[in-house]
């Protein structure tokens, strides 16, 4: 690996993470508590505390292309145990938002599941579990994973074939539309 | 509160500090290089209980834009109970200010211990901003005729 050029830390990146997450990265003194308790750590390339360290060093590329920001399950263990009360989970969420916005590929399955889920919400106003699973399986070509679960679920009446649609679907669709149009950022006077 | 910029014209703020806690706290802030606005000048007294309200009136009438009194935290007075007397006296005094035609917000009293450098920095910064928000006090001689029967708040304000 190429050495990290300390002089080239991306200060704007640090600022953006701090502003969007409302957390002060300087408060972290790298004890490692967040990494110690993280249940998803076995799937990570960098540990939670290493990610925070990389943010402190302004290493945008390393952070946003890491697998870890996609694999975080937002279980809040890190945020609960941080001695400096940094909401680490929120920081990782924000890194994932930035990775999405900046077009990093990320973990395909995780990203596609979120896309499928939100598409279902946008269309119906609610999540239609069977429908979104179908979309997800179609996209990922993972037809067989979890297939064994379906019969029991269908039998128990836990996977309705038809989506529950709300009346004011347009209101929910509008939220997504305005979001896509960047209305939130306009309201805040440009990009944070 | 407005941000203070370097260009903002300095106002005249007088601080009466007890020697044992708040003066020490201001020293601690200095040793820690806790940068503050430069408007405030500190008069050192043995105890906040030494503050005669006359001092504050004198300051405000002589052209000060704000007056800050700071002593030891309650129950922590070097002289056992001087700050209790100060609190009682200054609280009453604060309510009398409008009668004199002086905006109540031009005077504050607070408690800062000798260990609380960061707190002193905050007290000074906040109070200075508060005074800047009020703007310079009109010179007392220019103030409208005082009508003690029609006392209201902030009659000196533009």
């Amino acid at each position: 690996m190429e050495p990290i050029q300390l002089g080239n830390g991306d200060a704007e990146f640090i600022r953006k993470v701090e502003v969007e997450s409302r957390q002060d990265m300087k408060k972290c003194y790298q004890c490692g508590n967040c990494a110690a308790g993280c249940p998803m750590s076995f799937t990570y390339d960098y540990t939670a505390s290493q990610l925070i360290r990389l943010i402190q060093l302004g290493q945008r590329q390393r952070v946003l292309s890491s697998r870890a920001v996609w694999m975080c399950a937002t279980c809040e263990t890190c945020s609960t145990r941080c001695p400096n009360e940094i909401d680490v989970a929120r920081v990782l969420d924000v890194c994932r938002h930035m990775a999405r916005r900046e077009g990093y590929a990320g973990e395909r399955n995780v990203r596609l599941f979120a896309d499928a889920f939100l598409q279902s919400v946008r269309m119906n106003g609610r999540a239609h579990e069977l429908g979104l699973m179908a979309v997800f399986k179609l996209r990922t070509l993972k037809f067989f994973a979890d297939l064994s679960l379906a019969p029991a679920m269908l039998l128990k009446g836990k996977l309705p074939f038809l989506p529950h649609r709300i009346k004011a679907r347009n209101e929910v669709a509008d939220i997504f539309r305005r979001f896509k149009e960047g209305r939130a950022e306009d309201a805040a006077g440009g990009k944070p | 509160m407005p941000e203070l910029t370097e260009n903002t014209k300095e106002l005249r703020i007088v601080g009466f500090l007890c020697n044992w806690c708040s003066y020490g706290g201001a020293d601690t802030a200095g040793v820690g290089r806790f940068i503050q606005p430069t408007d405030l000048r500190i008069i050192r007294l043995p105890c906040s209980g030494r503050v005669n309200p006359l001092f504050i009136i004198k300051a405000l009438m002589s052209g000060a834009d704000g007056v800050l009194v700071s002593g030891c935290h309650p129950r922590d007075c070097h002289y056992a109970e001087g700050n209790f007397y100060a609190r009682r006296r200054l609280e009453v005094f604060k309510h009398l200010l409008p009668v004199l035609g002086i905006d109540r917000r031009r005077f504050e009293y607070t408690w800062v211990s000798a260990s609380e450098g960061p707190r002193w920095q905050k007290v000074v910064t906040d109070f200075t901003a508060q005074i800047h928000a009020l703007g310079p006090a009109k010179f007392f001689a220019d103030a409208p005729e005082l009508d003690f029967l029609k006392a209201g708040e902030g009659v000196m304000q533009p």
């Binding site: 998803m40 399950a73 969420d93 979120a114 919400v121 609610r126 | -």
Partner: protein, 314 residues
């Protein structure tokens, strides 16, 4: 006790799908305890994990629409059984207090919020407002003989500085409620260790690995069943139990109850309202233990005895 108090009720999407029995039994229990629930009219999905992982403003906007629906009822206290929904609704309320955040959210929604809202879990209201003591008074059929492992999941009370419910490291709500019903509650130190959450869909090896650990520990304690308060946890432990078994090369057979189902049984509610038939791992064997004398079971329990006592005393 809040007998008679009215709350807006947010069932969450899984309540009409994978956790239909949780929704049904929650309503039944609340009714029995005098907690009046009014469904939010035409509520929408809170966006669950995907929404907050895509954008916090988007997530908050989806939640804000629901809270606006509560305002149409004249209510600003909302309850939900689902911790994931709770987290989203609660975070929306919390983030809306941050400067600048509200304007962003308001730019996305039809009707900005006009009131200060509070969002709590049904469990919190039962535990704090009704209290386990009062629940105990209403028990008509004690759950004596049933050995339970309480599993809280990640989200309901963490971090404590934000959620303000129960102990963030050693929550007691389910423990005490189940004890109030007469069940034996085993000390379960993994009661908040993550089950894998929504990761089961992208990669079920993750949920298998994490949930399997919980199942293994529960079995080692000699538990008859899990008791949970989260649809996602329930799904990972129940529906995906076979996957976890395969992952660890062993079989599990541990029913996973919603706490509201067990409360329903103890309060003598109509079984058809509890949806016990919806559980994937059949609960019959566990339910048969209810009422059986503790003596018959004594020899098997000795293994975990020491720490169990220590925990109970603490």
């Amino acid at each position: 006790m809040t007998t008679g108090k009215t709350f807006a009720y947010y069932p969450g999407c899984s309540g009409s799908g994978t956790s239909v029995e949780y929704d049904k039994s929650s309503r039944a229990v609340c009714e029995a305890l005098g907690i009046r629930l009014v469904d939010l009219p035409d509520w929408n999905c809170c966006g669950s994990t995907p929404a907050h992982q895509v954008d916090h403003v988007l997530s908050a906007a989806l939640s804000a629409r629901n809270l606006a629906q509560a305002e149409t009822l004249g209510l600003c206290e909302t309850l939900t059984p689902c911790p994931s929904c709770l987290k989203n609704l609660h975070n929306a309320v919390e983030h809306l207090r941050e400067p600048g955040f509200g304007a962003r959210v308001n730019a996305l929604v039809e009707r900005p919020l006009t009131r200060e809202h509070s969002v709590k879990s049904v469990l919190q209201i039962i535990y704090e407002d009704v209290t386990p003591e009062k629940v105990a008074e209403k028990v008509t059929r004690t759950l004596n003989g049933l050995k339970l492992v309480p599993y809280y999941g990640c989200l309901m009370n963490r971090p404590g500085r934000s959620m303000h419910f129960d102990d963030e490291e050693n929550p007691q709500a389910l423990d005490k409620l189940m004890r109030a019903l007469g069940a034996e509650v085993l000390p379960f130190p993994l009661k908040q260790e993550c089950c894998g959450g929504a990761m089961g869909v992208p990669d079920n090896r993750i949920t298998s690995r994490l949930s399997g650990r919980l199942l293994e520990y529960a079995v080692s304690l000699g538990a008859d069943a899990f008791v949970v308060a989260c649809p996602l946890c329930q799904m990972n432990l129940d529906m995906r139990q076979a996957q976890a078994g395969d992952y660890y090369g062993r079989g599990f057979n541990l029913p996973v109850f919603y706490y509201t189902q067990l409360m329903g049984i103890a309060l003598g509610l109509d079984k058809t309202r509890l949806g016990l038939d919806k559980l994937i791992v059949k609960p019959a064997a566990a339910l048969a233990k209810i009422g059986r004398k503790a003596k018959e079971e004594a020899p098997a329990a000795s293994g975990a005895g020491r720490t169990a006592e220590a925990e109970v005393e603490a």
